[in-house]
Amino acid sequence: MSNTYLVALVGSILVLAGIVELLRRRQLGEKYAVLWLVVGILLLIFTVFPGLLTGIASGLGVAVPTNLMFFVGILFLVGVVLHLSWEVSRLENETRKLAEDQAILRLEVEQLQRDKQENVTD
């Protein structure tokens, strides 16, 4: 067993363990949980069986197997980042609406309190 193989194996197990731990502590939403679990498990599978990547690469006609890995990896990461941007925009919009409504309600409460005070003093 080569040293690099060992490093890769320990690395992927750490990533998978990190994902599971985040899930366990409820720090990762359920909708992301499945996605990251699949990523972690795939990572582990390809580390344990390096021949798999070589096989798929030659099957797809990719000369250097690592290039296939980089390609898929970058594509995946672009997708994730795009999704997060979308998520942030949505959250920002929701926060804005909450802020606006909060301000309106605050004014209404103040008005009600003033009305009440006036009624008492009358």
Binding site: N93, R96, A99, E100, D101, Q102, A103, I104, R106, L107, E108, Q111, L112, D115, K116, N119
Partner: protein, 259 residues
């Protein structure tokens, strides 16, 4: 009370961000010019005494917890207007650029239109001068928007606007919050929701505070952002049909229900 048929119930919305020096005078001036209309100052996450000054001057004050930009401030104002059963909202800037004496002129036109813009350089004297890229942007914007509105709109980026009729419930839900959204995109949304837009000429006075940006690089950036905002507005999808119908369906909050 009076025998005259009352005009649409209107509210004046003043978006203000850290304008404690000017907002008080502006509110007093508005109240003097239009005593019947309530003034709603939206303090857009101000860190100075804007809210207190406005309250002392006799305005209702919405205090946003953090800065949302003019678009967010105005949407809060529109939402308040719809919730409290107003038919129209007039935007007047806090820096004193807009002459509140011209508010009735805008409101009068609201009888036939959904949005009335107080345009800065329609006809007559134009003391308000712009040049360079900023001007080109304004020319292109007004050309495109005039075409969409099927009427001449010379000053699409004016903040002096009266919103009523079908446009108010649409804006309460969909008023754009991005840069330039409060002017360019909002008009596109309104037009695509079937609202009628027109303009009247309005005088612009020098600001009481703050400085207008006239630096060339800033103007260039403005040109690009305006163009991009327009492009985005034109290709975006909006579901505005629901809000237009909703106006009749949802009863407004009545003031003084507890009495």
């Amino acid at each position: 009370m009076s025998s005259k048929v009352p005009a649409a119930r209107a509210i004046i919305v003043v978006p203000a961000w850290n304008e404690q020096l000017t907002v008080g005078e502006t509110v007093r001036e508005i109240r003097a010019a239009t005593p019947d209309l309530p003034v709603l100052v939206v303090s857009d996450g101000s860190t100075d005494r804007t809210a207190d000054v406005a309250r002392d001057a006799g305005a209702l004050v919405l205090e946003l917890p953090f800065n949302l930009g003019v678009g967010g401030a105005m949407r809060a104002g529109f939402r308040y207007a719809v919730r409290h059963g107003y038919d129209a909202a007039v935007q007047v800037d806090a820096d004193g650029q807009h002459d509140p004496k011209e508010v009735p002129v805008l409101l009068e036109k609201l009888a036939e239109y959904d949005i009335v813009i107080g345009a800065r350089f329609s006809d007559g004297d134009d003391t308000y001068k712009v040049k360079g890229p900023r001007k080109w942007a304004m020319v292109v914007l007004s050309k495109v928007l005039s075409k969409l509105a099927k009427t001449k709109l010379t000053d699409a980026t004016s903040g002096f606007k009266a919103t009523g009729g079908r446009a108010l419930p649409v804006f309460a839900e969909h008023y754009p919050v991005e840069y330039l959204g409060d002017t360019v995109e909002s008009l596109v949304i309104a037009l695509r929701a079937g609202c009628k837009v027109t303009q009247v000429s309005a005088h612009m006075r020098p600001r009481r505070g703050g400085t207008p940006s006239h630096r060339p690089i800033k103007s260039m950036i403005y040109l690009f952002r305006a163009g991009f905002a327009l492009l985005l507005a034109l290709i975006r999808r909006y579901d505005t049909a629901a809000e237009v119908d909703q106006k009749q369906a949802r009863p407004a909050v009545k003031e003084g229900v507890t009495r």
